[in-house]
């Protein structure tokens, strides 16, 4: 699929929060099956989607992620029985909140990828990467990170540069 490196102006940073039992294993399967997908995704392993705190998603955007993927076991398959059910509600709520704050939800993807779904992992990771690539960088949080209260602003070259460096 991505046999040749395509020249993109913008390579998004995608962070994936996944559970160890299903999605991490699904991503492993994609590897053992030698499927190909864009190299933008960084995987952070959790025991369960139930462990994934919405703060991590927020933090990821703050720290420069252009897209965030959260993925775990299909309902009913949770290794811990109910972690993903709790997570599902938590993310439904958090998603609504981010939307209301004005975060483009196209940058935040949730999925169920089982240990057998290497193909689905590839599909989800590819889709999100391509979509975020098309959207461009997540400017909102990056701009915010560089902003100061008016009283604390000094026109230093460092700050100016930091601001200019936002892709």
């Amino acid at each position: 699929m991505h046999a040749h490196k395509e020249n993109h102006d913008f390579e998004p940073k995608i962070i994936a929060f996944v559970c160890t039992w299903c999605t991490y294993a699904g991503a492993d399967l994609a590897g053992t099956s030698r499927m190909q997908y864009p190299a933008n995704t960084r995987v952070v392993k959790f025991p369960c989607t139930g462990r994934i705190d919405p703060v991590f998603i927020l933090r990821a955007f703050q720290k420069g992620a252009d897209g965030v993927l959260v993925s775990g076991c299909h309902p009913g398959d949770c290794h811990y029985m109910a972690g993903n059910f709790h997570a599902r509600r938590r993310f439904a709520a958090f998603r609504a909140l981010l939307d209301f704050i004005g975060v483009d939800l196209q940058r935040l993807q949730f999925s169920w990828v089982s240990a057998a779904e290497g193909g689905k992992w590839v599909e989800v990771a590819t889709e999100l990467t391509e979509r975020v690539r098309a959207l461009g960088p997540m400017r909102e949080f990056k701009e915010l990170e560089a902003e100061e209260q008016w009283s604390g602003v000094i026109d230093t070259p460092e700050l100016q540069e930091a601001y200019n460096n936002i892709p």
Binding site: P54, V55, L58, R59, Q62, P75, G76, A82, F85, H86, R88, R89, R90, F91, A92, A93, F94, R95, A96, L97, L98, D99, F100, I101, G102, V103, D104, L105, Q109, F110, S111, W112, V124, E140, F141, L144, E145, E147, E148, Q149, G152
Partner: protein, 309 residues
């Protein structure tokens, strides 16, 4: 359009005041409670402040008026150890305050039997910028009261006051909510960004919230630091997102956060949005019965997952 018929009769509050005083004196004299949490008049005309009365003679200081804006449930949380230590406590509660009490019971913070709830029938309280010399009207009533559904608190130990027919008020908050929802994400972002940039991190919103009773706020932690503590735009945004998320499914809608905010950030919009979202998704409404579990502590196997691929 305002005329006299569209104001709320101050006599309603006067009657409640008398009844609150009598009840407070009664429970203090009988020793049924160690203290009564209520409101007393402030120095400035038309203001009030929370008070904790332990002396039956001081029961006469208690009042109820449109200035009694505070949600006194705050004083029964772990955040206020001094008050909790006094013993069994009576609390004067408006319908909206009661919802917070109910929520706190559901979160293992209060036991119903440890409380004596003096419910007050409330027609509304004044808004933040209201001219305090005027009776409550379209111009002066608080946003949350325009859409109040709990004028008469229920499941109290005693409820005082009689509700008269109230004027119709234009719901401003739901209109604002609708306005925001109609915006594009980018427009909403700039709306909130402007508001949050003004935030000075005085934490008045947190400190007056009956549900922010944590011993150690996540946002005060530095190992790891989940939210930057300095009042820069980045940390402010994170703080308000985390605050809204932590209250989702718990907030009972007293809107104290918004009222307390010295920077006029419309915080209750976030709370209302989350409350509505959780109601639509899971049929949950906070503050009506002490639920064993909140909407984010329980689940159904067939919960909506249309957003999950």
């Amino acid at each position: 359009m305002t005329n006299s018929a569209q104001t709320i009769d101050p006599a309603l509050y006067a009657a409640v005041t008398d009844a609150v005083r009598a009840e407070a004196r009664k429970v203090l004299e009988s020793g049924a409670v160690a203290a009564v949490v209520g409101w007393q008049a402030g120095r400035r005309a038309g203001t009030a402040m929370p008070t904790i009365v332990t002396d039956p003679a001081k029961a006469a200081d208690l009042i109820f008026s449109p200035a009694c804006v505070n949600n006194l449930a705050l004083y029964l949380t772990k955040a206020k150890k001094e008050v909790r230590g006094k013993g069994k406590i009576a609390i004067v509660a408006k319908g909206c305050d009661l919802k917070a009490l109910v929520g706190l019971m559901g979160e293992n913070q209060l036991k119903r039997e440890e409380l004596h709830i003096i419910g007050v029938v409330c027609a509304g309280v004044q808004g933040a910028a209201a001219d305090r010399s005027l009776p409550l009207s379209e111009a002066t009533i608080a946003g949350k009261c325009r859409e109040c559904t709990v004028h008469t608190p229920e499941n109290t130990d005693v409820t005082v006051g009689t509700l008269t027919e109230l004027p119709h008020f234009t719901p401003t908050e739901s209109a604002e909510l609708a306005r925001l929802e109609a915006m594009t994400p980018a427009e909403r972002w700039s709306f909130w960004k402007e508001h949050f940039s003004r935030c000075i991190r005085c934490y008045a919103c947190r400190q007056v919230c009956p549900f922010c009773y944590c011993e150690q706020c996540l946002c005060d932690r530095n190992r790891p630091q989940a939210v930057e503590t300095t009042p820069r735009p980045a940390g402010n945004m994170a703080w308000h997102i985390v605050r809204a998320m932590h209250l989702a499914g718990r907030c009972a809608g007293c809107a104290e956060c918004e009222r307390a905010c010295p920077m006029d950030i419309p915080l209750n919009l976030l709370n209302r949005k989350m409350a509505r979202e959780l109601k639509e998704l899971y049929g949950h409404e906070a503050g009506f019965k002490p639920k064993e579990k909140g909407p984010l502590a329980e689940y159904r196997e067939d919960d909506d997952q249309s957003f999950i691929k």
